[in-house]
Symmetry: C2
Subunit: 172 residues, 2 copies
DNA sequence: CGTTTTGTTTAGTCATAACTGAACAAACTT
DNA sequence: AAGTTTGTTCAGTTATGACTAAACAAAACG
């Protein structure tokens, strides 16, 4: 146990698992695998290596990386003297994720508010619709709490976060 | 404005919208439409009416209702002297929803903990994996906050929640 | 009893989106 | 310049799952 072969099996399992998790959240599975690989390896990985190590086409890497970049979870960097693009985890991907959920919840809340506004004030449904909107409001309030907690724990782990993102990395 | 035709258009929009929301959360759109209809109408609706009013097959109602029942969001009731099944919102669907998310997060957390346990304690990845698990932990802590908030606002709205669920409803 | 109503299950269709290979453009190498 | 590397885009394939129609079982009705 705890030999290299074992560790690699654990690594692959984690990466695959992360793929399933993000898939169930509506993202391509490959995007999750990339994310999982960046978490596990904690390193800067080249475009080509992503395709090679994950055994998928470069086209898939391209689209999944675009999604991860759009969501602010992954950052593209260059290496001095290297032609390939390299990728690493964005500075605080978890906070960014939570902020994305908040944004979505706000949009749903706005929609429900619009529904209420377009009804007569004494409509029988207004109470239930208000409770419905309230649900998303509490979720967002709760996420705000999680965001502040994340700050705390991030500080605790600061020493263990290798490879603080830089805009430009020199060759090793 | 605010005439019956308008209100009905608003109603249909809300129902369709709720369908989209739940679809993006991995549930069939029809399940969301049922849920939205129950929220808007706040009434007890028969199996047949669901199919008729939503213009979908009875088979779809059957599967979507099963999903909603499994998740504890909708309750099946009988009406004295009626052969059809009837459905209404479960007592506190929002709390149930949040608890479902908590359960899922816990399961992901457990998986990550398993990953960490199967690695040498000094593995370089442990710090990042811990932060990853921590993310799901804070989310769950936050949901706990939302759950207590929900209690509060539910009390505020108690007077506006019609049709408190009963196990058995007499005919009107 | 046969017929009707009702909900579930199953087989099949259809829509969607992930993924790939190939074509492509841009930048670099020689 | 010709050829190579690199990332994106596009067309096509494939896998998944929502949805339906039809078959079905159970219960109520006549």
């Amino acid at each position: 146990m705890f030999d290299d072969a074992n560790s690699n099996a654990v690594r692959v399992d984690f990466i695959e698992n992360t793929g399933f998790v993000t898939q169930s959240e509506g993202l391509p599975r490959i995007a999750g695998r990339i994310f999982g690989m960046l978490i596990f390896d904690g390193d800067v990985v080249s475009f080509g290596d992503l395709a090679t190590k994950l055994l998928v086409s470069r086209a898939s890497i391209s689209t999944s990386i675009r999604i991860l970049e759009e969501r602010g979870l992954v950052k593209r960097v260059t290496k001095h003297g290297e032609r390939q693009d390299f990728f690493q985890l964005a500075p605080n991907p978890y906070a960014t994720m939570l902020e994305g959920i908040q944004k979505r919840n706000r949009s749903i809340q706005t929609d429900i508010a619009g529904t209420i506004k377009n009804l007569p004030a004494d409509a029988e449904a207004v109470g239930r619709l208000t409770a419905h909107a309230n649900f998303y409001a509490s979720r967002n309030a709760a996420i705000a709490v999680a965001l502040s907690e994340l700050d705390t724990s991030q500080n605790k782990l600061a020493g263990q976060q290798p490879n603080a993102p830089k805009d430009h990395l020199d060759a090793k």
